[in-house]
C-alpha cells in the first residue's frame, strides 16, 4: 500500500498570513461565533483530517505594552473552542496547545481527562513550555524561568500528569484513549530531546524538502536513541498554500493576499515578532538597530541576526517590515494548482521528509475550503489519503494502538 499522508488542520485565528483577515473570503467575525467553528470543524472532518489543532499564547499580542490595532486578535481559549467542535463532530481529533510552565499537573490532568472523555477519545495535548517574555507577569512572575529549567519542569509535569491519568482512568469513567495523544513542537536541541522522549506526533517548520528530511531523520535518530520506536511517531511539518486553477492564477492570488498588507500593519507585525514597539518610528528612516537591541525582550543576539543584514544594506524600516511580513514563520508555502500541491505532498512523504502535514490555511475559512476542494480529492484518488476514519479515537486515526495500556 502506498504511504498514507496524515493531515492536521491548524485553525488558530484567521489564517497563516497576517494580512489574511482582510481577504474577501476571510470571515474574521467568525472567530467569535459557534456557527463558524461548526462549519470549519465539519469541513475538516469531511476531508478526513486526523485532527484540528489550535496553537496558543498566554499573552496579548503587541509589543512594549501597546496593543496593535491592525493585527487580528484576540486568541480565544483553544480548549473551549475544540470542545465545542467536539460536540458537532464524531471522528476528527482535537489537539490543544497547553503550557507546562503555567499549569500544574493537576490542572492539566483534570482538563485533558475531561476533554478525552467528553470527546469520546479524540483529545491531544500539544505540550509547550511557553517562550514569550510577556507571559510571566500574567502569572505573577517578573520573568520566564530559563529555557533549560522550563524543559526540566516539563518532563516532570508530563510524568506527573500521566500518573494522574492512570489513576483517573482506574477510578472511572474510563479515559477512552488511556491518556491524550502527546504532541510536541520543540526546535532547539532541548526541545528535540524532550520530543524524542515524550511525543507521539511532532510539529515543525520545514521550509523545503531537504529541511524536512533532515528534521525527520534527526528525530527518528533521537527517538531510537532513547529506546523509542521511530515508526510510532508522526512528524507533521507546517504547510501553507495559495491555490489557483493555473500556476499563474495561484501567483496572482498570492500577490493579492500580500498586497492587502500596508506599512502600519507590517510594522505592528514586526514589532510583535521582535518584542519591541516600532510603531512610533519613521518607516522611511533607517532601521533603529540600537534601539531595537536595547528594548527587545528577546535575546538581543537573536534579534541582531534578523535585523543587522538589512540595516547594513540601508533598507528603510518600512520596507524591512513589509518584506518580513511576506514570509511568516519559516513554513513551507506552496503556490500552484491543487494537482501540483498533491504531487509535492506525495514527494515529501515518499522522500521521508514527513509523515504528513499540518495545514495552515492562508486565511479562514476560504483557504481551508480551497484545500479541501482542490487537493483532498486528488490525494484520495491517488490512494494517499483515507476516505473514511479507521476507528473512533485519535490514536486509531494516527495508526497508533487505540488505547494506551494503563500501567497497574
Amino acid at each position: 500500500m502506498s504511504k498514507q499522508i496524515h493531515l492536521w488542520a491548524f485553525l488558530q485565528g484567521i489564517g497563516f498570513f497576517p494580512t489574511g483577515w482582510r481577504h474577501p473570503r476571510a470571515r474574521p467575525e467568525g472567530v467569535f461565533s459557534m456557527e463558524y467553528y461548526a462549519r470549519v470543524a465539519k469541513m475538516a472532518e469531511d476531508a478526513c483530517f486526523d485532527a484540528i489543532v489550535f496553537g496558543d499564547q498566554l499573552q496579548s499580542r503587541g509589543a512594549g505594552g501597546r496593543t496593535p490595532g491592525r493585527l487580528a486578535m484576540p486568541t480565544l481559549d483553544p480548549v473551549s473552542l475544540l470542545m465545542a467542535m467536539a460536540a458537532v463532530t464524531e471522528r476528527v481529533g482535537l489537539v490543544a496547545t497547553v503550557s507546562t510552565t503555567y499549569n500544574t499537573p493537576e490542572m492539566l490532568a483534570e482538563r485533558f481527562a475531561a476533554m478525552d472523555r467528553i470527546s469520546g477519545g479524540r483529545a491531544g495535548w500539544n505540550i509547550v513550555t511557553t517562550a514569550h517574555p510577556d507571559t510571566a507577569p500574567n502569572f505573577g512572575e517578573a520573568e520566564l524561568p530559563p529555557k533549560d529549567q522550563r524543559y526540566r519542569n516539563a518532563v516532570d509535569v508530563v510524568a506527573k500528569a500521566c500518573e494522574l491519568w492512570a489513576a483517573m482512568d482506574r477510578a472511572g469513567p474510563a479515559l477512552p484513549q488511556g491518556r491524550p495523544v502527546l504532541v510536541q513542537a520543540g526546535q532547539s536541541p532541548e526541545g528535540r530531546d524532550f520530543a524524542a522522549r515524550t511525543a507521539e506526533a511532532i510539529f515543525c517548520p520545514a521550509a523545503n524538502i531537504e529541511a524536512g528530511i533532515d528534521f525527520r531523520n534527526d528525530m527518528r535518530h533521537r527517538i531510537a536513541g532513547v529506546g523509542g520506536n521511530p515508526d510510532g511517531v508522526r512528524v507533521m511539518p507546517g504547510l501553507s498554500c495559495v491555490l489557483g486553477g493555473t500556476e499563474e492564477e495561484a501567483r496572482t492570488n498570492h500577490a493579492a493576499i500580500l498586497d492587502m498588507g500596508d506599512v502600519p500593519l507590517a510594522i505592528e507585525y514586526l514589532s510583535e515578532s521582535l518584542c519591541c514597539d516600532l510603531t512610533a518610528y519613521d518607516p522611511d528612516a533607517a532601521i533603529p538597530v540600537d534601539d531595537i537591541l536595547a528594548k527587545t525582550l528577546l535575546p538581543p543576539a537573536d534579534v541582531a541576526k534578523s535585523v543587522r543584514p538589512a540595516a547594513e544594506k540601508g533598507t528603510p524600516l518600512g520596507d524591512f517590515a513589509a518584506n518580513f511580513m511576506r514570509h511568516p514563520r519559516g513554513h513551507n508555502v506552496f503556490i500552484g494548482t491543487g494537482e501540483q500541491m498533491a504531487e509535492m505532498m506525495i514527494e515529501w512523504r515518499d522522500s521521508g521528509a514527513c509523515d504528513g502535514f499540518t495545514l495552515q490555511p492562508s486565511y479562514m475559512p476560504g483557504g481551508l475550503e480551497d484545500f479541501a476542494e482542490q487537493v483532498v480529492p486528488v490525494l484520495q484518488k491517488r490512494g494517499r489519503l483515507r476516505t473514511e476514519y479507521p476507528g473512533t479515537t485519535l490514536r486509531e486515526t494516527l495508526g497508533l494502538p487505540a488505547r494506551l495500556k494503563v500501567e497497574a
Partner: protein
C-alpha cells in the same frame, strides 16, 4: 412589570463526562425549560465543568450552563479566557460559580476579582474589524489591569475578548460563602427578604416535597426569584428527574424568562458595579457565512 420565575438545577454525577450520558441530560434541561443547569456545586465537583460547558454550548439554545470553577487547581488568567470563549460560543448564556474547594480562605474571592479585572481590561466596543481600512480593533479600548491580590497577581491584558455578557453570570451558594457580596444569583436555604439586588433561588434538597403554593407566596412577596433543585441522581436517571421538574413547574408563578438574548438580559441583571465602569458586554460584528 411582572417578574420572571427562574428555574435552576445542579448535577454532580461523574458520569456526566461521558457524552452518551451527558447529551440526554442537556436535552432534558432544554425540553423542561430549565433556565440554569449548574455543573457541580460546592463540595461536589467530579469533573472539569469548564470543559463540559464548552462542549454543551452548541447543544443548548435556551438553558444556560453554569460551570463550577475551583479556586484551587485553576488560575484566573486561564479561567477568564475559557469562560470568555464559552460565552461567545453559547451566545451569552454562560454562568460561573467559584467554589473554595481546598483553597485557602480568600482565594475564591481573589479568583472572582482577578477574572473580572481581566475581562474589564477590554472595552465593550473594542472590535472594529473593517477590512477596507485595515483597522481590526481600537487599541485605546484595551488596558492592562495590573491586578494584584492576596493570592493572584495578573498583569493582563488578557488575550481573550470581554465576554458577550461583559461578565458571565456569577452564581454563589449562601451556604458556601466565598467573601463576594455582589453575585448575580444567590442560592438560598430559606425564603427571606433581602436588600441585595441578586436573584435569589430557593434550594430544594434531593427528594424534598415541593410546595407550589408556598413557593408562589414566597415569590409574590419577593423573598425568592425562583428555585434551584439539587439533583443527586445518577447521570442515567437525570433526564427523568429533570423532566419531572418541568412538569412540576408547568404552572410556575410569575412569567417565564424570555428565551432569547443573553442570560443577563433575560434575568434583567446589570453588570456588577464594583468591577466595571462599563455597562455593556462585547460588541461583535455579525458573522455571515
Amino acid at each position: 412589570m411582572t417578574r420572571s420565575f427562574i428555574v435552576s438545577a445542579c448535577v454532580t454525577d461523574a458520569d456526566l463526562a461521558v457524552p452518551e450520558l451527558a447529551r440526554p441530560v442537556i436535552a432534558a434541561a432544554e425540553a423542561a425549560g430549565l433556565d440554569l443547569l449548574m455543573l457541580g456545586r460546592a463540595g461536589a465537583r467530579p469533573f472539569d465543568a469548564q470543559v463540559l460547558a464548552a462542549w454543551a454550548a452548541p447543544l443548548t439554545s435556551r438553558t444556560a450552563i453554569v460551570a463550577t470553577v475551583p479556586a484551587s487547581n485553576a488560575h484566573p488568567f486561564h479561567v477568564a479566557r475559557a469562560l470568555s470563549a464559552v460565552d461567545f460560543l453559547a451566545d451569552g448564556r454562560t454562568g460561573w460559580s467559584v467554589i473554595a474547594e481546598d483553597a485557602e480562605p480568600g482565594a475564591a474571592a481573589d479568583m472572582v476579582r482577578a477574572a473580572r479585572a481581566l475581562w474589564d481590561g477590554w472595552g465593550a466596543d473594542t472590535l472594529v474589524i473593517d477590512k477596507e481600512s485595515g483597522v481590526y480593533l481600537n487599541p485605546d479600548q484595551v488596558v492592562r489591569p495590573n491586578y494584584r491580590g492576596p493570592f493572584f497577581d495578573t498583569a493582563g491584558p488578557v488575550n481573550a475578548m470581554r465576554p458577550l455578557q461583559g461578565q458571565p453570570v456569577l452564581v454563589l451558594d449562601e451556604a458556601a460563602p466565598i467573601g463576594i457580596d455582589d453575585a448575580d444569583v444567590v442560592l438560598v436555604d430559606a425564603p427571606d427578604a433581602a436588600a441585595e439586588s441578586a436573584r435569589r433561588l430557593l434550594k430544594i434538597a434531593p427528594g424534598a416535597e415541593v410546595d407550589s403554593a408556598a413557593l408562589a407566596a414566597s415569590f409574590d412577596t419577593g423573598e425568592i426569584d425562583g428555585v434551584h433543585f439539587m439533583l443527586t441522581e445518577s447521570a442515567a436517571a437525570l433526564p427523568a428527574a429533570i423532566a419531572a421538574i418541568g412538569a412540576l413547574l408547568a404552572d410556575r408563578p410569575g412569567t417565564v424568562p424570555a428565551i432569547t438574548g443573553t442570560l443577563r438580559e433575560r434575568l434583567g441583571l446589570a453588570l456588577p458595579q464594583t468591577a466595571s465602569t462599563q455597562a455593556k458586554g462585547a460588541f461583535v460584528p455579525e458573522y455571515v457565512a
